[in-house]
Amino acid sequence: MVSDQLLRQISDFIHHEARLCDESRYTEWEALWADDGHYWVPRAEGLDAEKQVSHINDNRRRIHTRIQLLLTGTRHSQTPPSPMRRVVSGIVVEAVDGDEYVVGSNFILLELAVQSTHDMHVWGGRTTHRLRRGGSGWLMAAKKVVLVNADEPIPNISFLV
């Protein structure tokens, strides 16, 4: 569907974005968003965001607010930020939609809740990015994360997932 070279560019972007999340590099992460970006963490695959409540359902303005909260230094639930590392795997271009690429990948994320219990949380799920060219490289038009345990009782997810 896409050339090896294009797939390489896309997967480089996905890994870069993951690293910014892991390292809580909030401002750099926000710069990856398109002006109409949508950041969505539903309770399960296949739910209608207009009728069902989601964990995170941020339009671009709310993404900005989220980052502003984190930058205050008093977002207690991420003060200090959780050390994290994720492994991203199985990156595939699922669809090409006009000038946008729909990219799927799986992740396993280790999060150390240093701000409270010091528990190591293991998170996993599937991410679907909608990417388009812009700025100096790629921009995220949408990012959807479906956690394996999205509909179970989960701890805080106020880090960048």
Binding site: L47, S54, R66, T74, S116, P155
Partner: protein
């Protein structure tokens, strides 16, 4: 599960007028007694009848330690039964929600009606003529009552009617439901579920605490344009109120009504964005009453012990252990008000849930609170704030929004419940 102690816990000592002992948050024996006396015997919120609109609809829930099924029978009645097969104890229903004509145990196939009564035992000739089906049902809660769609149950027997339990706090539930032009709520947008490592009482205590907001939520205060900032910084306008029986409220409506701007509580949305809602409400209640409700908004209140009406959010808890709890959230949708509901879902996502802007702060503070209690001195949790400036209004105790009037009220009821000798009752 229940742990006994040779010397019973003395709640007169542990719960005093202006302080409580920190053992209430850490002691597993006290936790077991809470489950028994408050959750397994008292009235608790189980769910909402809009979650099970048709015959055979069910959701599985928990009351204290005990798994239960809340279902709608063929006769339209709401049933709450223990989710346990009468035969060998298997959890009969494993799904979180669904529709079924009967409940069938996956182990040996015993089949129960929606009200828990036993319909069929496979290969029935294995039981003698004396086998009494009516004595082998899934055991229903002793009391189940619905108030304006809110389903409450008492597993054993609370010793009071729901009406007596709610008392004047019915008004708080009325205030929610009346915001719908049809007078009814829909809790059908699904539940966000949040796990945290702190005692279950930390959050109901915190939910009506106006003292923590500036500090716990300082990131929200400084990064957003919130109507709450103005209210809190403007001083003493909102009040806290003790509704009796442990039901408590922080009433922002006092301040909203004084200002007289409709929907200040609803992200300051302009009434022109909700034309159909405004029209429907005015048609139903008349212009004046509708406007009063548009200004005052929904309550911010705890219905003892496990239900939180947090503006347009409904929240309840499952205590897990002395140091762990699960909290669930859903947007309060108003029947006949699609414009409001779309925004309500979005506001819920912003305010409550593990990834939201407000509750993760309360949760992490509660976890640190639990961690702090490991330092055993001082032994007491101070609840004296505002004792000197409480006053009576319409027969209820009221005080400044930052006062611990609400926590004292919660613990008065707590103490009454914990001092009830269940052996004497049953």
């Amino acid at each position: 599960m229940r742990t006994e102690r040779a010397v019973p816990v003395d709640y007169d000592v542990l719960v005093q007028a202006d302080r409580v002992h920190s053992a209430l948050y850490t002691d597993p024996v006290i936790f077991d007694e809470e489950m028994e006396k408050i959750f397994h015997n008292g009235w608790v919120f189980v769910g909402h009848d809009s979650e099970i609109p048709g015959p055979g609809d069910y959701v599985t829930r928990q009351i204290g330690y005990q798994p239960v099924i809340m279902s709608r029978g063929k006769d339209g009645r709401v049933h709450v039964v223990r989710n346990r097969c009468a035969h060998r104890g298997n959890k009969v229903c494993a799904r979180e929600s669904g529709n079924s004509k009967v409940f069938a145990c996956p182990y040996h196939g015993w089949v129960y009606d929606l009200d828990g009564s036993l319909l069929d035992t496979p290969q029935a000739d294995g039981y003698g003529a004396g086998f009494d089906k009516s004595a082998h049902g899934m055991v229903p809660a002793a009391q189940v009552e619905v108030y304006r769609g809110f389903v409450f149950a008492s597993l054993n027997h609370s010793g009071m009617t729901l009406d007596e339990h709610l008392g004047r706090a019915r008004e708080l539930l009325d205030r929610c439901c009346d915001l719908s032009p049809e007078g009814e709520l829909d809790l059908t947008a699904g539940w966000l579920k949040h796990r945290f490592k702190a005692n279950w009482k930390m959050l109901p205590e915190n939910d009506c605490d106006g003292y923590h907001v500036d500090f716990t939520h300082s990131s929200f205060m400084s990064a957003t344009d919130s109507q709450a900032i103005d209210l809190i910084q403007s001083g003493a306008e909102p009040v806290v109120r003790d509704w009796g029986n442990g039901h408590i409220e922080i009433d922002f409506g006092v301040a909203y009504r004084k200002r007289g701007n409709p929907f200040e509580w609803f992200g300051r949305v302009s009434a022109s964005k909700l034309p159909n809602y405004v029209k429907a409400m005015e048609a139903h209640y008349g212009k004046e009453k509708a406007n009063e409700m548009f200004c005052g908004g929904p309550p911010h209140a705890i219905i003892f012990p496990n239900l939180f009406l947090g503006e347009l959010n409904v929240v309840f808890y499952y205590p897990v252990s002395a140091g762990e709890c699960v909290q669930l959230y859903t947007p309060m949708l108003l029947k006949g008000a699609p414009e409001v509901n779309q925004r309500a879902i979005h506001q819920t996502e912003g305010a409550v849930g593990p990834g939201s802007f407000l509750i993760p702060e309360d949760v992490v503070i509660a976890e640190r609170n639990q961690a702090g209690l490991a330092a055993q001195q001082p032994e007491w949790m101070d609840l004296s704030r505002g004792l000197h400036r409480e006053y009576q209004q319409d027969g209820l105790t009221v005080s400044h929004m930052s006062d611990e009037t609400v926590n004292r009220a919660f613990y008065r009821r707590y103490k009454t419940a914990m001092q009830r000798d269940l052996r004497a009752v049953t």
